[in-house]
Chain length 472, copies 3
């Protein structure tokens, strides 16, 4: 039996009729607001080259760890889905992989992936039939045909999606060639980079040594001496700013920060680059570098994002066979109150500094993050992140942060995705969930309707533009 | 004034009329599905002997730690409720105990015990008047009369409750005589055992030494040598499988696992049985044994359940006077991400292994358990457990796990009870709460109605039968 | 454009019409119940002297850390708001401070401060226009005029607010002169003190030495010897009881308790008063003193309140410039299960002792606190505290504690405020949220309507009066 695919106009709004009416009205006023995507992982070469994508599997399935982790959890091998391993892309027939995925699509019931994909299927590709084993081939064929059409090239979709601002993320040791090519092309899409120096800060990363070598090469600084190393960061931050970056990003195992003396820094750095470091040294160096980055942000005005608390590469066997970022990163309990104190001792009261905190540990929302952001001038709260970037997760974020931090210490939505086609879907989910939350406050007479309307605008556009200094 | 007792047909459904209608329809389709109870603590002798129970106090009150812990917290002595102490059952008049309980029945307002008991009173015994001090005697008399009737013997109720499968739990050092007697009797009730070896794994248990002696006797193995000890486990697992067991169960203070070398295992086991162990040794041995049990499950196909995180016998005075399991076990913060890694390094990617994880620490649902189960092929999530086996607890479980783990990495409901008469009540609560959750997803246009209907069947029957390999 | 200020009669009730009707009926029956405020930080001199307050800024803004912490988080300097620093009250024009606050009033959207203030503005001062930059002067003027009126003096407002019982908090080293003056005045307001000995227990407090000196002076005991120190506590507890106190209060960094031998206590106390203490000694001494206080409570019948888990003075720079209690206290993760065990080993099974536990770590509600309070006779749960004393916070408290602890192991509402004018607002919010919670239970057929009505009375009045022994 053919199952229809249709996005209901009231999806994600509360079932209560009076509250739903309020949510509808709030949403109608902001639904068409252009998208600001201040943090994510799309590939800037897509916009530099504007080359067409080829097929459903390589575009939508093989790169999306949300999708293949779920299938893997139910016993589907990654190779059968076309997911690259350490030897590269497996010789899997893309159509066969797509069929396998389609046959397991029921696994995603109740997940955000399902919401995002159905939105992509319906809105981007115009499907009116749901994906399942029976429709798998029709999906694969239609998506392949559409992707060959110029209207589905990256820049055309960027325009169609009404994206006003898109930040990618590059490492301190990465070239910015794609960004320079975008600028040189004369295309008017507003795509910028973000400075993510983890590769030259995390000595436990297996590619630390080559990253440092490249860092030296790109900057011409003596990156193996503490002063030269800091100078190299300053130089690359300037390069990134010149390529439009307004922000840095830091993905650390914990939120630990440190405030060492110069002498201690020199000694620690000596162990880091000299090879005699312990695990505690590696952690302490990451901790100290958050404080160094914050101090540089005071100088150059870059907004700082901290994404802590993921235990990377949890599955040793899978890491050996397939490498990083294969759906095996697991959140861990994360402390902020004690961890951030050394950094805050240095820059906590700076009014012109913005540090955006993210978490994978929801127990910190009401207990630590909202109280911190509701006090320190430099701190703001990033939106619900990763596994929590979902209707229930976003609802909990608002319910657990708003009463202490208010709305104005938050920064709107981040899609944080490498799945470019899902960006409108993700922003739409966030807008609907925010409007649903505001509608409840109005229905319970905790906010006036005109205040909720102002806040819907702020949550969609105002807060993110100001926090990320997009219009500066 | 006499208060009526009546179970409302819409109980536990959402108040919103449109959502309630959806919940009603979902529930109507699964309400009469036979019960599968894959994990619990009923006494198999009940079904072997089919002897009548005697009175309300000894059947419903004195063995139920949910009930007497609440009364104890309000100053009622356990002896007055007929709860056994280290000297046995106190000489308390059962009717007086029942009156005391009835006079405090208001304490249970808002608790699941109240829902379960009212269901038992109304459905099993046919009461139409609520329990309170005024009705206490009528309750005591009526229950006593009914229990004397053959229709209220264990096997008759088993049939009346439409129980399709019931697993009890026995220790590695326990006889399986009751199970053998059930089989030999020719009765067609499907009652099996579960292998729970904690008694011969937890050296900190006061009865470890006699349990080991009995373990040696039952298996004929040299259980005081590491190889013989493992062989004894294999032998008893085979005995349990022969008695119908499809699963093992492990109740440890933490979720710690270990992956020691053979040599380290030998040395550790030497300290455990030699008496020179430290607290750290005891913990490490429990940790290693989880991994050993998982490896045996790979070999013999038994499903493994891990129930960690209870701080047992928290009340030292009460433990001294009354012993274990007297309502003084308190949940503790529990780590899974780091704790399970050694075990997962060994068996994490096994597709034919099933490990069902439980928790008493709800902060791990979205942060650790759902991400782990949504990735590892061997992991599934057990339902909300113990103190969280309640309407709000089950709702939080769905809200915090579904978006990352999906429904299909969960395993339906466990009643986990020794209160046989409450089994239908507990399953009914779980079915209603699940239908309420699904109804909300439908009302918010996050699931189609036909998908929710399929899921209601899965949550009631399909998932549990497959996870526990009941039809294998 | 002028925005109206009007308190909607259905505020904080559920939007669902049927549930709202139930909430309305429950609330109507308890809305006018006199206020019992068993724990808070109002200044007893207000009631002793009955002097008029002067202006909006010094009464409502400058002392309220909820307000200025939010403004500070958005870059507003504390001096500009009239907040005192270490040199005293800054020379800020109160009207200018008020204007600054009014211009930022939108920051409080979605926060409890907004609900409380709007209630004060509408109900206490009769405003019908919302506070914003345009109405700031009118507000400042009107409030100033009203405060000069006798009807707005402390005692007149106390009567108007229908306060039946109000407890303030004084240190072990504080005079009780204000309380004695209240008694001597013949005024019939029921205002009592609470014994808070932290100042002479926390050796890490910067004013420990002068507090001890004053403690010695007030008691005439040798407070520098362990036996004399305990005797001094007993003496002051008797003084406090004579001034009406029914309770003690303990604000510790953690919930740690200890149960040392006399000899260990002597040695530890020697280090504490001798100056040779370590941080671990300071913590151990606080831990031991909780147990000592509990033992004294067994003797003298005072109810013991434990408020653990705040990391005080997190902002080092602000502490240096402005001192304590300036909005820079941040909650921390808090353990109760292990921490309370030494104390519970001593007094856990005492039926005539009441220890009321509070938390800033909501993850402990369902995991630790409800299971503990649902077992130990001496334990009860204080209401949602500090940052969690808000509609969402109070809802979570009920949802996460009721199913295990029941309603009867809770103690009603605490306003815990120094903002006297907001007391009716805070109690009104609590009553509405409780009625909303009860209404949901009734609408979902989990409670009968008459039970909910009884519980609404208990949550408003019965539980608090009994727990704090107000009518003893």
């Amino acid at each position: 039996m053919v199952k229809a695919l249709a996005l209901h106009p009231d999806r994600l709004f509360p079932a209560d009729a009076a509250t739903r009416d309020i949510a509808r009205a709030l949403y109608a006023a902001i639904a068409d607001t252009p998208i600001v995507s201040p943090h994510g992982h799309t590939d800037p070469r897509w916009f530099a080259d504007d080359a067409p994508w080829t097929d459903a599997t390589s575009l939508l399935l093989a790169p999306d760890h949300y999708l293949y982790r779920m299938l893997y959890s139910q016993g589907v091998p990654l190779d059968a889905l076309g997911v690259p391993d350490r030897n590269g892309v497996p010789a899997t027939d893309p159509r066969a992989a797509w069929r396998l995925f389609a046959g397991h699509y029921h696994l995603f019931r109740g997940t955000p992936s399902r919401l995002w994909l159905d939105h992509v299927f319906a809105e981007v590709f115009g499907f009116e039939v749901a994906l399942d084993a029976a429709s798998a081939d029709a999906y694969f064929d239609t998506i392949g045909e559409k992707l060959a059409d110029d209207a589905f090239r990256p820049r055309a979709l960027f325009d169609r999606f009404r994206i006003d601002f898109l930040a990618t993320t590059e490492g301190a040791h990465d070239s910015l060639d794609a960004h320079h090519a975008i600028r040189a092309s004369g295309w008017n899409g507003y795509v910028v980079t973000t400075y993510r120096p983890d590769g030259v800060i995390d000595v436990e990363h297996e590619a630390f040594a080559p990253a440092m070598a490249r860092f030296a090469e790109l900057t011409g600084e003596d990156v193996y001496g503490w002063k030269g190393y800091l100078a190299a960061h300053r130089r690359r931050r300037a390069d990134f700013r010149a390529a439009g970056a307004t922000a840095t990003d830091h993905g650390h195992p914990t939120a630990a920060t440190a405030n060492l003396s110069d002498r201690e820094c020199e000694a620690l750095f000596g162990r880091i680059v000299g090879g005699g470091w312990s695990k505690a040294d590696a952690e302490l160096f990451r901790a100290q570098m958050l404080t160094e980055m914050a101090k540089m942000s005071v100088d150059d005005g870059m907004v700082m994002q901290i994404h802590p608390g993921s235990c990377r590469n949890h599955n040793a066997g899978l890491f050996a066979s397939h490498g990083r970022d294969k759906g095996a990163d697991i959140p861990t309990r994360t402390d902020y109150v004690h961890a951030l104190r050394p950094l805050l001792d240095v820059v906590g009261n700076e009014r012109d500094l913005t540090i955006i905190l993210f978490t994978l540990d929801e127990s910190t929302y009401a207990r630590e993050l909202a109280p911190l952001a509701g006090h320190y001038p430099c701190l703001k709260l990033g939106p619900a992140w990763w596994f929590h970037d979902s209707p229930e997760g976003m609802r909990r974020f608002r319910e657990m942060t708003t009463e202490t931090a208010g709305f104005y210490n938050t920064v709107g939505f981040n899609d944080d995705t490498r799945a470019f086609l899902s960006i409108p879907a993700r922003h739409d989910v966030a807008r609907r969930v925010d409007c649903a939350f505001l509608a409840r406050l109005v229905a319970e007479h905790r906010l006036a309707d005109w205040e909720a309307a102002e806040l819907a605008q702020e949550l969609t556009s105002g807060l993110v533009r100001r926090a990320y200094r997009i219009d500066d």
